[in-house]
């Protein structure tokens, strides 16, 4: 893909405009890999072990056909690989056109097959699933039959059939249990981030669109201390949390939001400022870190432990436990400590709290620091388990917003409840809808719930405008 922005097209990132006009000079041509799997790698990909070999790429020449060569046949074919990416020999495929069956082909020792046609038109290739070895089947959602559109002759088209360990091997109950666990962990990640967002919103009224960047900050710091400095992960995380609390909490509030509050900047204006800040920070992360997803060197390919139907990696157990502890500590801080109570007073009525002797600015600073700790740890959970990229914040921001809106903006328990609902819903919805659409489902549910209960699950009525 060529971009006139002069920037290598980074997988996953979205570019608002793809300038290809002739008056802009195209300077860099960089081939990048497909962005197909973006949503898959962004969060806890639950079905990794079950799925897939391949994204189906029904590459018809539809997009690219400009000239036909002198040859008079178009060949379509592909390679059939099993779930371990080993070629499958002897798989039978049946080719037909609109009216009749044209013939069958069988894959060779490398799993390859091909079929040539002499006329343009529509063809269908059907994979005979009975010829697959036992335990292998087409992944869910992939049809046995693929349509091939031949627009012009002299081409070679690729037809791929995605094959996994056959859905029939995993019972629905086992899969549901796994998804519940994955969903709860995802919910915890969202909850950590959402609680911080809600606390800041509660005390200052700021809808912080740059909150996702705090997750990225946490992830990048963890990467820095672990991969660059060389600390073991277990030591890198506390150091990274401290650094994130200082940079994302103290410095951010001290040098950005506090001066804005002093100026009396309106809340909508601050919302837009946070968008500008998010863009600035996101591209700064891209600038220093590059566009790829990187894993921490330690625990990269850890084997999962099996508990009945559920498989979970030790690192996931440990990071999840720490996450739960942090969440409980944060809740206790809110409910039991003087500062926590003061923060709820500020959220309720800043002027009255101030008049009653609460130091509002100190409370806000504490809330920012807590928010940074929670959000950066959420980013570290993602980093340890899936790696970190500069897009982490952007990928998760809408889920955090969805959770917060669902639970009730500004309510602490609402954020946690909403997050669990969103996390479980996202994972469990893959039982019914294609995995790549699971976030769409979550956002859709958000809109539906707002129709029925605009104030969210635990919210108060006054938020309705």
């Amino acid at each position: 893909m060529i971009t006139g922005w002069g920037l290598a097209r980074i997988p996953g990132i979205s570019y608002p405009l793809d300038v290809e006009e002739s008056h802009l000079i195209v300077r860099s041509v960089t081939k990048m890999k497909s962005t197909e799997n973006r949503s898959a790698n962004s969060l806890f990909t639950s079905l990794g072990r079950l799925l897939v070999i391949f994204t189906l790429a029904l590459l018809t020449p539809l997009l690219l056909s400009t000239q036909a060569s002198a040859e008079e046949v178009t060949t379509f074919g592909g390679t059939v690989l099993d779930s371990a990416k080993k070629p499958l020999e002897g798989v039978v495929l049946v080719v037909r056109d609109t009216t009749s069956e044209l013939g069958t082909v069988t894959t060779d020792a490398e799993g390859r097959w091909s079929y040539s046609v002499e006329k343009t038109g529509n063809y269908w290739v059907k994979l005979d699933v009975n010829t697959l070895p036992s335990g292998q089947g087409l992944t869910e959602g992939a049809g046995e039959e693929k349509k091939v559109i031949v627009f012009s002759l002299g081409k070679t088209l690729t037809v791929l059939f995605p094959i996994g360990e056959g859905a029939e091997r995993v019972s629905n109950f086992d899969r549901t249990m796994q998804l519940v666990v994955d969903g709860a962990i995802l919910g915890l990640v969202i909850a950590l981030a959402a609680l911080g967002l809600n606390l800041v919103f509660g005390t200052t009224g700021l809808t912080n669109f740059a909150h996702g960047e705090m997750l990225t900050l946490g992830g990048l710091l963890a990467y820095f201390f672990s991969a660059v400095v060389g600390l073991p992960v277990i030591a890198a995380i506390p150091v990274a949390i401290l650094a994130a609390a200082f940079i994302g909490g103290f410095l951010q509030d001290r040098f950005l939001w506090k001066p804005l509050r002093r100026r009396g900047t309106g809340l909508i204006a601050m919302l837009v400022v946070s968008i500008g800040f998010a863009i600035l920070v996101r591209y700064f992360f891209l600038f220093i870190f590059g566009g790829d997803t990187r894993q921490l060197p330690q625990y990269a390919g850890q084997e999962g432990l099996t508990f009945g139907p559920v498989s979970i990696t030790p690192k996931s157990i440990i990071t999840t436990s720490i996450g739960i502890i942090l969440l409980v500590l944060a809740t206790l801080w809110l409910l039991r400590t003087r500062m926590g109570k003061a923060s709820r007073a500020v959220a309720d009525n800043p002027a009255l709290a101030s008049a009653s002797g609460v130091e509002v600015e100190r409370v806000i600073r504490a809330v920012w620091i807590l928010s940074a700790i929670l959000a950066s740890y959420a980013g570290m959970m993602i980093t340890v388990n899936q790696g970190v990229s500069f897009l982490m914040g952007q990928d998760n921001l809408l889920l955090i917003f969805a959770a917060v809106t669902l639970g009730g903006l500004g309510t602490a328990n609402g954020a946690v409840v909403g997050s669990l609902v969103i996390g479980l819903f996202i994972q469990l919805s893959t039982l019914v809808i294609p995995t790549e659409l699971k976030y769409v489902g979550a956002l859709f549910v958000l809109i539906v719930i707002l129709l029925v209960r605009p104030q969210g699950i635990l919210g108060k009525k006054d938020r309705v405008g």
Binding site: G6, L7, I13, S14, Y15, P16, L17, D18, V19, E21, S22, H23, L24, R27, S28, S34, E36, S39, L56, L58, L63, T207, T265, G266, L267, I268, A269, L271, V272, V273, I275, G276, F277, A278, I279, L280, V281, Y283, F284, F287, Q394, L398, F401, A402, V404, T405, L409, P434, E436, L437, Y439, V440, L443, F444, L446, I447, L450, L451, R463, G465
Partner: protein, 331 residues
């Protein structure tokens, strides 16, 4: 440095296709945000609906281009209704969250493999769906002057595009100065007061959302036609954010300001990029600081910084009136 080249690139961009697209997107947002006070963060969704309806109907359903363009207006009205019914009763900050979610739903559905056959998946749709439009192009030669440079097709898009912008601006000017437009501004200032004189605020907001959305979808249609392709990731939240930057730069709640904002935005964007690029190539900026691939990242960082500074120090933009934007979510 080749300053003539830099000026040529920047000026061509300042009146070029991107400027037209963002002007249309921002005019729509001006209707929503500037005049009605609706914090619509889903404008990218409207552009996507406009672009995709045009492309899909022609490529996959054999519509004529003109029928498809008509349908894209209908589709964006429908999208506005779908978006408006659940959200228009919400407070401004919730509206922002829900509209941004809706636009993201549109993009993710468009790029999903599930609908690969009709919507083209993450590669989008490329095809000659704009043929009927480019067949009308009277220009056989492009424009080639020291300060402006366009290919024949771009020249045709630019001329028709600016005619469209002019028509939309004329419409906007008439409508915001009508009694209807005054009700919108009143809603922005004080919803309760408008309700108290018996106006149906919800209905007015809905009409505003539809009109601004349709104008945005024009931008999407221009986007699709000018490139003869649609790609889902072009319609991400960044598009909306940049449209807001354009609007705020020009000054919200002024009829002409989105256009001025868009011209300045694109001039600066290309100017900064070209200057940086040449500075890097000729080693005025050392490679360890910024290398050639990082130029556009620096440029986006500057966009973010610019948006922040604008909002803090001059929220009314270049032409806006500060009093017109005393909007506050909690007020």
């Amino acid at each position: 440095m080749d300053f003539l080249f830099i000026i040529q690139q920047s000026l061509s961009s300042a009146i070029g296709v991107n400027t037209i697209i963002f002007a249309l997107a921002a005019i729509g947002l001006n209707m929503h945000f500037g005049y009605t006070g609706l914090l619509n963060f889903g404008q990218a969704g409207f552009l996507a609906v406009g672009a995709y309806t045009t492309a899909v109907l022609v490529v996959s359903f054999d519509f004529s281009l003109w029928a498809a363009l008509g349908m894209s207006v209908l589709a964006s009205v429908l999208f506005a209704l779908l978006l408006g019914v659940p959200t228009l009763r919400l407070r401004a900050d919730y509206l922002a969250i829900v509209t941004i979610a809706a636009a993201e739903i549109v993009r993710q559905i468009a790029r999903s493999a599930t609908f690969n056959d009709t919507l083209g998946g993450s590669d989008g749709i490329t095809g000659k769906f704009g043929k009927a439009y480019f067949d009308l192009n009277p220009f056989t030669e492009g424009l080639e002057t020291p300060i402006l440079r366009f290919s024949p097709n771009d020249l045709w898009v630019v001329i028709t595009g600016w005619l469209l912008v002019a028509a939309v601006l004329g419409f906007m000017w008439l409508i915001v100065n009508s009694p209807w437009g005054r009700v919108l501004k009143a809603i922005r200032e004080d919803e309760e007061a408008v309700r108290s004189i018996g106006k149906n605020v919800y209905l007015y907001k809905m009409q505003s959302l539809i009109l601004g959305g349709v104008i945005g979808s024009f931008g999407g249609a221009v986007y699709a036609l000018s490139r003869q392709s649609v790609q889902p990731d072009n319609y991400s939240t960044f598009l909306t954010f940049f449209a807001y930057t354009v609007l705020i730069l020009g000054g919200a709640a002024r009829v002409f300001s989105p256009v001025i904002g868009s011209i300045i935005f694109w001039f600066l964007l290309v100017f900064v990029e070209q200057v940086l690029r040449q500075a890097v190539e000729q080693n005025y900026i050392p490679d360890w600081l910024i290398n050639a691939n990082q130029v556009s990242q620096v440029r986006f960082m500057l966009v973010g910084l610019g948006l922040m500074l604008l909002m803090v120090f001059r929220p009314q933009g270049i032409f806006g009136d500060k009093k017109e934007l005393a909007l506050d979510a909690r007020a």
